[in-house]
């Protein structure tokens, strides 16, 4: 399932609508963590990350780990500089008012599964 459709199905807010091409990307793996050292070490390439961590480093670490997208859960919203960096790195960002557990559950129901890198 591609990111755009996933966002629609899960009711996610697209924070980077400029990334047209990246939103067409399919995702089949996911990762959930608020510790970016764990994301660096364990998030599989191509994953969608669900997190409540909104520091700018999410983008640097996310790019390094080769993430396809990040969902900021629980109503957390990053600052504009985070979004700008994501556009530079072509990393799709979503936001959701739902708790991280709920977001992950819905992703799983759409066939996105977890595994360690």
């Amino acid at each position: 399932v591609n990111l755009r459709r996933l966002g629609e199905k899960l009711g996610l807010l697209v924070l980077t609508p400029e990334l047209d091409r990246e939103l067409e990307r399919d995702v089949v793996v996911g990762h959930v963590s608020d510790m970016l050292s764990d994301v660096l070490a364990h998030a599989p390439a191509g994953a969608v990350l669900v997190t409540i961590q909104v520091h700018l480093n999410v983008i640097a670490v996310g790019s390094h780990a080769g993430l396809a997208a990040v969902v900021f859960a629980a109503g957390r919203r990053p600052e504009e500089d985070v979004r700008r960096k994501a556009l530079e790195e072509r990393l799709v960002l979503f936001a959701s008012p739902e708790p991280a557990f709920e977001v992950v559950g819905r992703l799983y129901a759409f066939g996105v599964k977890g595994r360690h890198a």
Partner: protein, 223 residues
């Protein structure tokens, strides 16, 4: 951990200087300074838990500056409840003689709502030095929470704790862009002095520490 016991432990370990850095509070530093009466020198500090759950040490020129910073941190913490007291224990504010002079009304073990840059800015605004705490440790350290060193945060130094752990980011620790201090991160009397920083400076004041971090006029952080 009464002021008198902290001072005795520091003297027994031969420390010339200590920084008292309670979690999210600076209200005990003046009492420890009073109990120490200059031996050892006491710097008023705080260990702020940022919104990212990174621990940041603030070291201040005097207890008033530390209190000002601590009060701002406190305003962003949830209130302490009887239930929290039962679970996590009392949060005493002590007088120099060890008697309870008051209680912290905020839950000090919680994360503040200040993000990293706001916490560092607050410390600087109050005249303090901002130090990334126990960067070798897997919990509440800047590397554990943020993966890579956030150079833009504006730390004046980083602290490696007595644990002196070898984390997955050990290579990053060897290439830090700021001076490295050693601290015990003591949570118990017995841990006071388990690690310490050797400094060459004129006197144990924050102004001199600032010069030592810059390597100015013979002052230095020694290996």
């Amino acid at each position: 951990m009464t002021p008198g016991a902290i001072v005795s432990a520091a003297r027994a370990r031969g420390l010339d200087w200590l920084a008292l850095c309670d979690h999210n509070s600076a209200r005990n530093a003046a009492a420890v300074a009073e109990a120490a009466a200059g031996n050892p020198a006491v710097t008023a500090g705080i260990e702020i838990t940022t919104a990212e759950e990174v621990h940041v040490l603030g070291l201040f020129p005097d207890p008033q500056a530390a209190s000002a910073a601590g009060a701002e941190v406190g305003r962003t913490l949830p209130p302490n409840t009887p239930e929290a007291v039962r679970r996590f224990g009392e949060q005493h504010v002590l007088a120099a003689d060890g008697r309870t002079a008051g209680r912290e009304e905020r839950m000090l073990c919680a994360a503040s709502m200040l993000d990293l840059s706001a916490a560092v800015a607050l410390i600087h605004r109050c005249g303090g030095l901002a130090v990334a705490a126990h960067v070798d440790r897997p919990s509440f350290s800047v590397f554990a929470q943020l993966g890579v060193y956030p150079a833009a945060a504006g730390f004046d130094a980083v602290e490696i704790s007595a644990a002196n752990a070898s984390p997955p980011w050990a290579a990053q620790l060897r290439a830090l862009p700021v001076p490295v201090l050693r601290g015990s991160d003591a949570h118990f009397l017995s841990a006071i002095g388990d690690a310490a920083t050797r400094l060459r400076l004129e006197q144990p004041t924050l102004a001199e520490l600032r010069l030592a971090l810059a390597g100015y006029e013979g002052r230095a952080v020694l290996r």
